[in-house]
Symmetry: C6
Subunit: 74 residues, 6 copies
């Protein structure tokens, strides 16, 4: 993969949240490298409540890391 992740620092909590989302997606992309297959799966799981809640959980775990790295933007 190209360089996509050089720092955990973000300017705001929201940017940190969006980095966490990117990290959650990359975790999927390393396991399923085909963008086509991911896109197809996404159109389905984005309509499945439990899949969405699970996705939200992965984001939450990554956000813990990003927030700690930014000292909670204090």
């Amino acid at each position: 993969m190209n360089d996509w992740f050089t720092s955990l620092k973000t300017e705001t909590p929201q940017k940190g949240f969006e980095l966490a989302i990117e990290m959650a997606r990359k975790g999927v992309a390393y396991t399923q490298p085909s963008a086509d297959i991911r896109k197809r799966l996404r159109s389905k799981y984005a309509k499945n409540a439990d899949s969405l809640i699970m996705t939200s959980q992965v984001i939450a775990i990554h956000f813990q890391t990003v927030a700690a790295a930014n000292n909670y933007w204090k």
Copy 2:
């Protein structure tokens, strides 16, 4: 998305808990941007015990972050 998340600081644990709920929901909203679809899913999963428990878990993870950011409101 508009600015929705500028600080992790809250006045009370309860406000922090409610921020954690908002964060859990935003994790879903970034993945499923359609408010209509989310509303429809919600009317179903809000009657499913396991979905509710999973939602409660995402809130718990975010609350850990919010609580640490507020030094546990000591």
Copy 3:
């Protein structure tokens, strides 16, 4: 909601554990505000082993937060 959560401090680990249970339940109640529906769901999931284990997990996550807030009652 009324004020239900003003402090993470508790006198004993057990009171902290019970606070964690309350937090897990509130996470559900914010998502499903109807006490009637929650009661109905509960009578079912309280007889389902996996649901009970998942509930225990949410409690465990919240207890981590409560324990840290109380400096582990040292």
Copy 4:
């Protein structure tokens, strides 16, 4: 409930692990207070691999808390 949880301190990691198991079980017992129903459920989920793995996960989360409280028995 009676007093069952007055301290997070244990003499050894193993005693801490066993406390974590007790905490995981209490998380279930508060939600399903009937010892009879719990016993019946247990005889089933103790033969279900996924239920056992989920149980092991709850123990792992509680053990994190117990280990931190004991400063990792250093």
Copy 5:
């Protein structure tokens, strides 16, 4: 149970990882004490992707604890 867990200290990250695996297994063994039943279950779940991913998750949680206890082998 016999003494199986007297210290969280390990010489290397890999030994720490292997301790985390042992801890994940013990979490199962305390709940299902029969080695026969565990062996039978294992031959099945070791061929089930989701069970394997869940197992990997329990290991990850325990490894967090072991790594912290070893100050990340710095």
Copy 6:
């Protein structure tokens, strides 16, 4: 197993992320040692959204550990 894990230090967050992926996979490999079976399972779960999200979650948990070990690459 051969030595595969001698340090948690990485040069960049991305290398840390890739170490977390490796750790998630090793968690599976210790439980299912047959590379053949793992390969077969992978071709299936890599097309299953929920399995991919769960995999992403294990990576997220390991990444927390790696990030802390590297002091968040500050």
